[in-house]
């Protein structure tokens, strides 16, 4: 399924978009987006990026026909340049409605459960009861674990999505943190659900939980933002990891440390760095060492090329000149979003942080959240560099070890902060005369920017209503790649602050978890008293 015909570039087209059958290549590299959804003999909707982009044993889903590379249904994209209006269309004539329904229904969905030849029977769940569970084994998580051990706390479990038995961590993507109904002195007030691959459920009962889950690279809105070759920094790194060279000339978007890391890793395959604002000194040095031109304070106006990016159009901000950069990839490294899901879901109080442009848990000096026993450390709690990440991990571990009572002062309002730079960026971008042709505001569900605009013009307000009106945020990535930017746009259009626009409720499971896995938890989970 790898396309090697293109000058040695191996950008796989593994999937087509759900509605318009636009070609899609891997984007996020961390198993959230829908672009690399494939099937194996045992499993449906597997993310190829999580399996090391295997070529053995994976098959395309039955969504594209005959194949993701050559999908005849791609004609839908051309036939409906302004999108398909399922909300107001397909109403007339009455006699045709059943036929519309059959056609639209047949186009829906990725695969049929029967297409899986031998579904695995989920093994018994892996269950553990511990004093402390650490979620995420990055910088801050590892610092917390070291500190806990140094203080003699050994009943620890570490869950990490890349975990392996060997390094003392449990493999598993955490999908929910549940607080059972208040019971008298429940020994393990937290129960954390995770999924290990699709085979096994993991259920950890813990007295305390330290969340060190980090963040993820945000996506970017512009016409053609879903074209093969547009990917996040994590997406680019996942190809590197698996020895795939999907591009030769990448434009990197971002002005800070994340972009510097991309430049350092990809080296001579970077042809330009475009930043929404100023370029940080380290990045500037890394770029000039390699002779890479910088385009600070610039907008990405669009990507050209259908089945893969051929060029990127940019414009200096404040109505500067336009320019076209020849490139076969755009790597997004402009903003990292701390994972908010587990905190929202556990009921911790969240605070909108304008500068980050995201919600962070309200914490005290030790990282204690408003949920007793639940701690947030590292970039999940807003740490910006390695040192502060490590320090926050250690501080939480100390507080856990010493049994410090949390003292989150929720009444204290945070000092005023400047808004996230992307807010001004989008304000300027939307003033462009490009119109809203097919800007994909929600790639998982193929929701167009014009649909958001229309909803706003029709008088619908707030992200919760817009979600229900357009379907934005209801796809397989659970809104990770569309909601953050949609909140910024709505805040511009509605003329109110992002927190007034709201946020979509984070519902369990925060990563898809199979019915088979969940079913194995029927006995352990139906008893609220059981550890």
């Amino acid at each position: 399924m790898t396309n090697r015909s293109d000058g040695g570039r191996q950008l796989p087209i593994l999937q087509r978009s759900i509605r318009y059958h636009r070609p899609r290549a891997p984007f996020c590299g961390v198993g959230y987006c829908t672009n690399c959804l494939v099937r194996t003999d045992q499993r449906l909707n597997v993310r190829a990026c999580r399996e090391g982009f295997p070529t053995r044993g994976v098959r395309a889903t039955s969504h594209a026909w005959p194949s993701p590379q050559h999908d005849l249904l791609g004609v839908l994209d051309l036939l409906f340049p302004r999108g398909i209006d399922t909300l107001r269309g397909f109403r007339r004539p009455a006699w045709a409605v059943p036929a519309y329904q059959r056609i639209v229904r047949r186009l829906a969905g990725y695969d049929n459960p029967d297409s899986v030849a031998s579904p695995p029977s989920s093994g018994p769940p892996r269950t553990r009861s511990v004093d402390v569970l650490v979620i995420g084994y990055g910088t801050s998580g590892a610092a917390a674990v070291d500190e806990l051990k140094a203080r003699g706390i050994d009943a620890i479990a570490v869950l990490d999505r890349n975990g392996a038995e060997g390094d003392g961590t449990m493999p598993g993507r955490t999908t929910a943190v549940f607080l059972p109904p208040p019971t008298r002195n429940a020994p393990y007030p937290f129960r954390v659900l995770a999924s290990e691959g699709s085979e096994r459920a993991v259920l950890v009962s813990a007295r305390k939980v330290i969340v060190a889950a980090g963040g993820y690279d945000a996506s970017l809105l512009f016409p053609g933002n879903d074209r093969p070759g547009v990917m996040t920094a994590d997406g680019a790194f996942s190809f590197e990891r698996d020895g795939i060279e999907p591009f030769l000339r990448a434009v990197v978007f971002g002005g800070g440390d994340r972009a510097r890391k991309v430049v350092e890793k990809l080296g001579d395959r970077v042809v330009a760095v475009v930043a929404p604002g100023e370029v940080g000194p380290d990045l500037a040095r890394a770029a000039s060492d390699r002779g890479i031109p910088l385009y600070p304070r610039s907008l990405v106006l669009g990507a050209r090329g259908r089945s893969r990016v051929r060029s990127i159009r940019i414009r200096a901000r404040s109505f500067g000149p336009r320019q076209t950069l020849g490139a076969d990839a755009l790597v997004l490294a402009h903003r990292r979003i701390p994972h908010p899901q587990l905190f929202f879901q556990a009921g911790a109080r969240m605070v909108w942080r304008p500068r980050v442009g995201a919600y962070l848990p309200a914490v005290d000096a030790h990282g204690a959240t408003t949920v007793p026993g639940l701690y947030a450390v590292g970039s999940a709690a807003g740490a910006v560099d390695l040192d502060s990440s490590r320090a926050s991990g250690r501080a939480a571990a100390r507080a856990v070890a010493e049994g410090a009572e949390p003292g989150v002062d929720v009444t204290r309002s945070s000092p005023p902060e400047p808004p996230n730079e992307m807010q001004g960026y989008y304000r300027e971008l939307l003033a462009e005369p490009e119109g809203f042709a097919k800007w994909i505001a929600c790639p998982c569900e193929d929701v167009l920017l014009r649909e958001l605009r229309r909803a706003n013009e029709d008088g619908y307000r707030g992200i919760e209503v817009i979600k229900r009106y357009t379907g934005l945020g209801t796809g397989l990535c659970q809104g990770r790649y569309c909601v953050p930017d949609a909140v910024l746009l709505l805040s511009i259009w509605e003329g109110r602050s992002p927190p007034e626009v709201g946020y979509i409720t984070q519902r369990p499971p925060v990563v898809p978890t199979t019915l088979g896995q969940l079913a194995t938890l029927e006995t352990p989970l139906s008893d609220p008293e059981a550890p």
């Binding site: 045992q42 499993r43 449906l44 909707n45 039955s62 969504h63 399922t86 909300l87 107001r88 269309g89 397909f90 109403r91 007339r92 009455a94 409605v97 329904q101 639209v104 229904r105 047949r106 829906a108 969905g109 990725y110 695969d111 049929n112 459960p113 029967d114 899986v116 579904p119 695995p120 029977s121 989920s122 549940f178 059972p180 659900l193 699709s198 009921g347 029709d458 619908y460 307000r461 707030g462 919760e464 209503v465 229900r468 009106y469 209801t474 397989l476 659970q478 519902r507 369990p508 499971p509 898809p512 199979t514 019915l515 088979g516 969940l518 079913a519 938890l521 029927e522 352990p524 989970l525």
Partner: protein, 388 residues
């Protein structure tokens, strides 16, 4: 709009869910304005935005069969009448019986439904297997099927009504909570809200799962009881399942939406008193998953995408409460719809509107009127098929 534009309204409706908005729609269409609808949440934040979209006509009480049948007609026309498409799809409801006794019970329902002229069918296990491909043999010995039952998307129903009533001049005030009522001599004179008090002689309690709360704020005692119900949706699949499926034993239900997701729910094992948190519980996820996989084993490899919950506004006899309160003139109940307000909304609110307009309606007050609970247990038949 941030406050009512007038000081007096002919009718004030509390709740902008499908019940409140449909009532407003009929009143506005009859020219009975000005009307004010208040809701403390956002549009579709209540049960009207949290349900499974099932519309069935298989009921044990005749009056309900008729109300549901009329609603099916309304939903068939909805897309054309309102310009917004709820994708109402008549692909039937299958009730599953796991044993002979349940099949007997379903047969009684079938007799009533069929005698009302609907094409209800009794299914043997092989017909069940054709209608529900992949069903485990032990999941059903038979069942009933009504091909004209169906499913829809609830949200477009809310949008269509919202746009229609506003186009007719009805004010819909979101983010405004009704705090209580004003009355003189047992008659309503006004409604107090967080955006001010307005004068009116008619107030409709369409507050769904919070109807008991609002009735109590008006000083009334009612039999309604809110209960929390959970529901989940899976990853979208290619279409393989047409009808809504309901297990007769406990009301577990699931269907495959137009988008391909399997959406389904299961009543809690014991009474689940409403908590303010409309969250999801681990126990539900596991119970529902276990039940689904036992019925359709191939679903084991399908991922659950999200789970949520909402309130049923339950009544002791499983029937809604429609009509004027006998203790407070002008206070109209349009609540108590349990898990069936979507399917009963078009027809029952048409009658509520007619009652408000002083017209006669074809509903037996002993069956639907609020005073039926006054003397303890109601005398009439209860709706036994309170499932799904």
């Amino acid at each position: 709009m941030s406050a009512p534009t007038r000081s007096e309204y002919r009718t004030v409706i509390v709740g902008a869910g499908v019940i409140g908005l449909y009532t407003a729609y009929y009143l506005a269409r009859a020219g009975a304005g000005p009307i004010l609808v208040v809701d403390r949440g956002f549009l579709s934040s209540g049960a009207s935005g949290r349900n499974g979209g099932g519309v069935r006509q298989q009921w044990e009480t005749r009056a309900t069969v008729r109300l549901a049948r009329e609603s099916v007609g309304a939903y068939r026309r909805f897309a054309r009448d309102f310009g917004v498409n709820p994708w109402f799809r008549q692909s039937g409801y299958v009730f599953l019986a796991e044993n002979g006794a349940e099949l007997e019970r379903l047969r009684r329902v079938h007799d009533i439904v069929a005698s009302e002229g609907l094409p209800s069918e009794i299914l043997d296990s092989s017909r069940v297997a054709r209608l529900v491909p992949g069903i485990a043999p032990e999941a059903a010995v038979g069942g009933t099927y009504l091909s004209t039952d169906g499913t829809l998307y609830p949200f477009p129903v809310v949008w269509g009504l919202y746009e229609a009533v506003r186009a007719m001049g009805t004010e819909v005030l979101l983010g405004a909570e009704a705090l209580g009522v004003r009355s003189t001599d047992g008659h309503l004179t006004g409604v107090a809200t967080t955006k001010g008090t307005v004068a009116t002689s008619t107030c409709v309690n369409a507050a769904g799962g919070w109807s008991r709360d609002f009735s109590e704020r008006a000083g009334l005692t009612v039999a309604n009881a809110p209960t929390r119900h959970e529901i989940l949706a899976t990853e979208p699949l290619k279409p393989f399942l047409d009808p809504m499926v309901v297990r007769a034993r406990d009301g577990l239900y699931f269907s495959q939406t137009m988008r391909g997701e399997i959406v389904g729910g299961l009543s809690p094992p014991s009474q689940n008193p409403a908590t303010s948190a409309m969250s999801s519980s681990p126990a539900f996820l596991a119970r529902m998953a276990g039940a689904l996989v036992r019925i359709l084993p191939s679903l084991a490899s399908v991922g659950v995408l999200r789970a949520w919950s909402g309130l049923y506004d339950d009544t002791p006899d499983g029937l809604p409460v429609l009509g004027e309160d006998s203790h407070l003139g002008g206070f109209i109940h349009a609540n108590g719809f349990g898990g069936h307000g979507m399917m009963l909304a078009p027809s029952s609110t048409a009658r509520v509107a007619r009652m408000i307009l002083g017209e006669r309606v074809d509903l037996d007050p002993d069956e639907f009127g609020p005073q039926r609970f006054d003397g303890g247990q109601p005398s009439h038949a209860t709706e036994a098929l309170q499932l799904g």
